[in-house]
Symmetry: C2
Subunit: 206 residues, 2 copies
């Protein structure tokens, strides 16, 4: 959800391959910005190219179509987001429950800090195409893994390993976010995290 | 999710208004069938008219466009589904937990019994348009109400009244369904209901 999650690497001088990789990242960055401002369905390739400061010829060097750019930008945002969550977990003091709380806090803070991107990558993109749905599903699975790992570092983990329950917990965490977003972020962060924690704790077993 | 949830009423003889209402129901029924077979995005107005045995002129008598028919058919399916859930609750013996279990069993049985409609009305239709999203959100809210009412008929209900937690529980129940659907309904029904129950019980308080 950052304004610029993919702009970290800088390419200097060097090969055609490196310049091509840099242009690809410029497009990802531009896509996140343009989709956030206009929504994915309203955004044209032209608008993304303008924001990237590159021509359409370069667009088609890296992507076959808008949908491919959407998947790539979604994945870039998710990589950034999961990095933030891992960081929050690593920096939290206390046991699994405190670490899970720190992770959820980081998650909802990221959504709140980037409401436009949150809308695009959480709400708008489902149902765009099978490829996009697959990318979404993979990220739900990864999120479930992360929650389960955080909450049962060496507990019995019997509940945490049920794929249906994991999927349910992740769906719950996301629908708490959707409700929060649709209410204009009206509830305070700690209540949002509190509701999500109640759902996550189901993974701690009976 | 029935093959024919809206074909109960029969109109005999009578007024132009009644015949018009009957044609509207024929379109709803045809839409549920055609969307189930082809998916909403692949279904044309023409295909729906053919399935209804009516001309496009009659289509535009009742609906401005496909999206309006989608919302109306979604609402018809949801009315039927919630009716089934209420019936299961009323017929269940035992306390709130047993009634909730009976309701969830009826819910997942309905999805399993009508996998094509389940895909359309649970997966495909999100992100179609703001009007469709609004209809979806209203049905999520109604589902949350029903679960909370079933589980806390006169308990303290403090957890059940938190709108964020309710939304989270409903999201959980739905994502259990999505996971089940994407795995080709591989887990037995009682495991699916068991996972969903664990999430619903969060509404019973600390």
């Amino acid at each position: 959800m950052p304004s610029s999650p993919v702009a970290n690497r800088r390419y200097r001088g060097s090969s055609a391959e490196e310049r091509r990789a840099q242009r690809r990242e410029q497009f990802l960055e531009a896509a996140i910005q343009v989709y956030g401002e206009q929504g994915y369905r309203n955004a044209t390739v032209k608008a993304v190219c303008e924001a990237a400061g590159l021509t359409e010829r370069y667009f088609y060097e890296s992507f076959s179509n808008s949908e491919e750019l959407l998947v790539a930008s979604f994945q870039a945002v998710m990589r950034f987001l999961f990095g933030e969550l891992e960081k929050a977990i690593a920096e939290a003091s206390g046991g699994p429950v405190e670490r899970a709380r720190a992770m959820l806090t980081a998650y909802y803070e990221a959504l709140q800090g980037h409401p436009q991107s949150a809308r695009v990558f959480l709400v708008e993109i489902s149902g765009v195409s099978p490829a996009v749905d697959q990318a979404l599903e993979a990220s739900l699975h990864e999120f479930g893994d992360l929650i389960a790992r955080t909450l049962s570092p060496r507990g019995d983990g019997s509940a945490a390993s049920d794929p249906l329950l994991r999927a349910g917990v992740v769906g719950g965490v996301i629908h708490v976010a959707l409700k929060w977003i649709s209410s204009g972020y009206s509830q305070p962060l700690h209540e949002v995290v509190g509701a999500a924690m109640r759902l996550c704790l189901v993974l701690r077993g009976r």
